[in-house]
Symmetry: C2
Amino acid sequence: MSQQRTGPTDGPDFPDLPEATVARLPEYLRALHHLAEQGHDTVSSEGLAAAAGVNSAKLRKDLSHLGRTGTRGVGYDVSLLIDQIEQVLGLTHRRAVALVGVGNLGHALAGYAGFGSRGFRIVALFDADPGRVGEHINGLVVRHIEDLPEVVEQESISIAVIATPAHAAQHVTDRLVAAGVTSVLNFAPCVLNVPEGVDVRKVDLAIELQILSFHEHRKSALTALPPVQKPGRVGVANRLGGEAVGS
Amino acid sequence: MSQQRTGPTDGPDFPDLPEATVARLPEYLRALHHLAEQGHDTVSSEGLAAAAGVNSAKLRKDLSHLGRTGTRGVGYDVSLLIDQIEQVLGLTHRRAVALVGVGNLGHALAGYAGFGSRGFRIVALFDADPGRVGEHINGLVVRHIEDLPEVVEQESISIAVIATPAHAAQHVTDRLVAAGVTSVLNFAPCVLNVPEGVDVRKVDLAIELQILSFHEHRKSALTALPPVQKPGRVGVANRLGGEAVGS
């Protein structure tokens, strides 16, 4: 996905951005808000890149897609750039979000302060468990999943967060889509099938740790003493038991 | 990062994998475990690709890095491929993980069942708030952050999860690194600076929603009625107020 463009149908009134750029714009926005809070009016591309943890050439290229490349010797106007990125990301109004599944993780997400301060209002909580329905979390009452269509329409909800067990997530997604939701953030460890026009982002917490585990494993392989290569011997035992692919 | 290789120093006994491949291996693993539970002994590349939500050509290329490309007409041996991916990811033993910050989100992560079933044991919880220290969560007692060096050594912890507020995350990271932790999963909405040899993965929940917001904004821009283009008129008002970059 990372280099896929957002679609050939994009008109001239909407920037045609690579997916990877779209994913970095929120990082720039977060860094810019932080700079604004610290009283900075302008920032260099190097300064912003460092604050966002991104390479500065990549940042300049990303921002050039927005048609703004900063002023040489001055840099970027912080508040202008904030406005511009917020406009592109559609953050000029707070978006209503529904959350489905108020177990351990869903409960925490329902109370996550970072959503409110960064463009989103969780306006509805759902669960399939009658024992959970009626529970108050963070000022909201948990509704039964049966009420989805009614609430999604009432609250103009287009984005939903799924924090159900994996086995329930596809069914919940189908109901969300039928009710008119067109973007889903999926925390359930499974692949969701959605019709065209519906966007899915996924966060699988164990996968993040497994990627780190790879790096741990690699680092320990690299720091292990290399086997002595005797003349006439070729190669080193491949711990994968297959053909290694070199760089 | 997505196309960055894992490093020029990789020896022949460790596969040289593109970052994007490393990130997809856990997805294949999740799909393979699911297939195994359903009683499948073999799977075609198309079947596995569909189960993992990935394009099948990409999957074949990813798995070819492991030196195993399946048997024509038979496909992949499910349990062999599970073993092989688990070996590459370093999941042949359960890794000990520390979690720092047991607020709302940290509390949920401490009880997240998906870690235990997929290769990780959360063995220690830390917080800086004396009011939290001593609390029991999921069979563990919250320790004070001062105890980090001792516990990290005792429990052979190399991976830590940070679920602190953003303002505390860098300080916590510095302490983790000083104690010997070499991989960090960061849930705090900020950039972490770490020395070489330390890997960081980040999950910013609001950023995921902001990316979906972009897609919502784009979809509504695309479905809005296009302005009538009269002969002699050029272009359409650019809602970004800058130069749009075409595709």
